[in-house]
């Protein structure tokens, strides 16, 4: 199995590690503290024992006013080593082998650690004064007594280790409990994630519906994820639906055209006909077929336009520029028959030419589609006005005096196969792809196209394209060309 990352495990391990580290720190602190406390207690007991030895130094009933050690009633620690000396170096009493200790010259109380045959001992050196017969007129005989008393220090260590063990066990128990609680609580905390995943699992190509579970929406950390999922899916569904609609519409369009061609030919072959009838029938069939061909061609154009940007970016193909003015004039020339048929005046106003990053063919397609659209929607004898302004971008506006667009249509006119009439009646001509092709051309060039209604009536198509100002024609006065 591949190494996977578990949040539960990570969190648990992190918490346990932190807990372990703090326990370690705590134990260290406690060890130091305990050592001091125990040492102090140990030292006090050493002092006490030394003091009791001091107390056991008695007045010996002899003529030299000597002192002696009376060990009755004195309880000393096990393995204790001591030596009691008087000022003349006479040993009053001792136990155990006392090592030679480096004692300071000044008579002060000191502690010393010494290793005796592998055991650590701590000694206390007590200097005391024993006055024999203090009631005598000379004030008695003072005896300066030095007591060295020591016991093994093991005891301190033992106490410290005992307390460390206690804390270690407590820590281990605490860690175990924490691990269990963590495992349970992390699972509980992560349950919204699982619910989110379960809900997301339900998404399929057929059903894009996704409602983030409430638990996920109520979790602050998951809210952005849930919202992002919802938004992404909504967008995906939108484009998926659009794609499906396009496919359905395209199929509908093609099937209808094919049905016409097929029925025309089948009608012709239903029975034997005269040569004239065949001729007429074939001419009609050819017209029907031309329409089918046009539909296919436009679909292919749209497909090409929508695919190309990616290919262009990949191959790094050089962008072709064309003169927008020339293209518009070509488009006007192309649409002249229709304009003349409807007695429509086409006016083209421009101050400067612009070079736009579209190849000639597509630019002509763009301009003639918009122009034909304007002509088709204009009443007879009207005027269609084309205006071009260039600054950083090329702005192209085409105004007609037709019925304009309804608000409902305006949102959809650039969608493939969209027609104002839901039945998609084709009597108005066209396949419903013209404006979609325009939009694809504009967007591929990095521009935009929109349609709005003029206050004076009629529609206004506004095209924005990135442009290079063509220096060749930069006339100061506006040229007006009328067709």
């Amino acid at each position: 199995m591949k190494k996977s990352l578990s949040i539960t495990r990570r969190l648990t391990v992190t918490v346990l590690a932190l807990e372990f580290l703090s326990a370690m720190a705590l134990i260290s602190a406690i060890t130091i503290h305990e050592w001091h406390v125990q040492l102090k207690a140990f030292d006090s007991s050493l002092e006490a024992s030394a003091e009791s030895l001091m107390g056991a130094v008695q007045d010996a009933e002899d003529e030299g006013d000597n002192v002696m050690l009376d060990m009755r009633g004195v309880h000393l620690g096990k393995n204790a080593i001591y030596r009691v000396k008087d000022e003349r170096g006479r040993v009053l009493g001792s136990a155990g082998g006392l090592p030679s200790l480096e004692l300071p010259l000044a008579p002060e109380h000191v502690f010393r650690n010494v290793d005796i045959s592998g055991r650590s001992y701590r000694f206390f050196v007590l200097h005391g004064l024993r006055i024999v017969d203090p009631g005598e007129p000379n004030g008695g005989t003072p005896h300066s007594i030095t007591i060295i008393y020591g016991t093994p220090i093991e005891h301190v260590w033992h106490e410290v280790i005992e307390s460390i063990r206690f804390f270690a066990i407590a820590t281990a128990v605490l860690l175990g409990v924490t691990a269990l609680i963590m495992a349970w609580s992390v699972r509980a905390v992560l349950s919204p994630v699982n619910e989110l995943a379960r809900e997301a699992e339900r998404i399929s190509a057929r059903d894009w519906h996704f409602d983030a579970p409430r638990s996920a929406k109520e979790t602050v950390e998951l809210r952005p994820l849930a919202a992002a999922l919802e938004a992404a899916l909504a967008r995906l569904q939108g484009s998926f639906d659009q794609q499906r609609r396009f496919t359905n519409d395209a199929a509908h369009e093609l099937k209808t055209d094919v049905a016409i061609v097929k029925s025309s030919l089948q009608l012709l072959s239903m029975r034997k006909r005269t040569v004239e009838e065949y001729g007429q029938g074939l001419a009609l069939s050819l017209d029907d077929f031309t329409r089918l061909e046009m539909t296919v061609q436009k679909m292919l154009t749209l497909a090409r336009l929508e695919q190309q940007p990616i290919e262009n970016h990949r191959s790094g193909a050089e962008v072709q520029y064309c003169s927008l003015r020339d293209v518009i004039e070509d488009a006007m020339h192309q649409s002249k028959p229709l304009a003349e048929l409807k007695a429509i005046t086409v006016v083209f106003e421009y101050a400067a030419d612009a070079k736009v990053p579209i190849d000639n063919r597509d630019a002509l397609l763009l301009c003639s589609n918009i122009l034909l659209n304007a002509l088709q929607h204009s009443p007879n004898g009207a005027t269609v006005r084309i205006a071009m302004t260039v600054n950083d971008e090329a702005w192209l506006t085409i105004e007609d005096q037709g019925g304009g667009v309804s608000d409902e249509d305006r949102a959809h006119v650039f969608e493939p196969f969209y027609r104002g009439d839901p039945s998609r009646s084709r009597r108005s001509g066209g396949t419903g792809l013209g404006l979609s092709i325009c939009k694809a051309i504009c967007e591929r060039a990095g521009g935009s196209i929109e349609i709005e209604n003029r206050v004076a009536g009629g529609a206004l198509v506004r095209v924005k394209l990135p442009a290079e100002l063509s220096e060749a024609i930069h006339s100061s006065s506006a040229q007006l060309k009328e067709q």
């Binding site: 209808t256 094919v258 049905a259 029925s263 239903m270 039945s423 084709r426 009597r427």
Partner: protein, 227 residues
Amino acid sequence: MRVLLIEDEQRLAENIVAALRETGLAVDYALDGETGSHLAEQGVYDAIVLDLMLPGKSGQHVLRDLRREKLHTPVLILTAQEGKESIVGLLNAGADDYLSKPFDLGELLARIKALIRRAKGVSNPILTVSDVELNTVQQTVRRRDQLIDLSPTEYRILEYLIHRPRAIVSKQELLEHLYDFDWEHHSNVIEAHVSNLRRKLNIAGTEPLIETLRHRGYRLRDEIAVL
């Protein structure tokens, strides 16, 4: 038999109309839903061919309104839409058959004829009444195995009458079901055709098949004593 075609695609409508007329059916057609619905609800049609995507009123609504008016004219749906659900929905809404575009013209004609036949309570394409046999596929008529040569109109009158045995069929009804709006028609045209038809059917050794009931119409005699 008179058929109504509701189809907004002009060229397709023209082709279907021409084909239907060539097979001897009277055809009216409407290019939008409103007109189509209005015509369909007159109840003079023996079958309706209905496109779904129509301007004005969708095919679904035309069908729904037709059935709401308690008209049982058989309806064949022409559709370019995909999806079985819509077909199931349409059949459940009262459609009798459907063809998806692009369809075969011959199949469309055969289905329309079958719909008309079934609506009249017959499923066999060969109709018989007493000793007369009418083949709706070949459009031929035989009496006692003798081929009788009829004009298209005479054939259509006989076909219509055979579909309504023993019923009195008025001249008006014949006019409504045999002619579409493109024809100039008068009731005496019917009289002339019926008289010719009766004469042609009257071969030696048979009794007259068609009865004339004055001011009421015509009736096909079902039981004729075989001589």
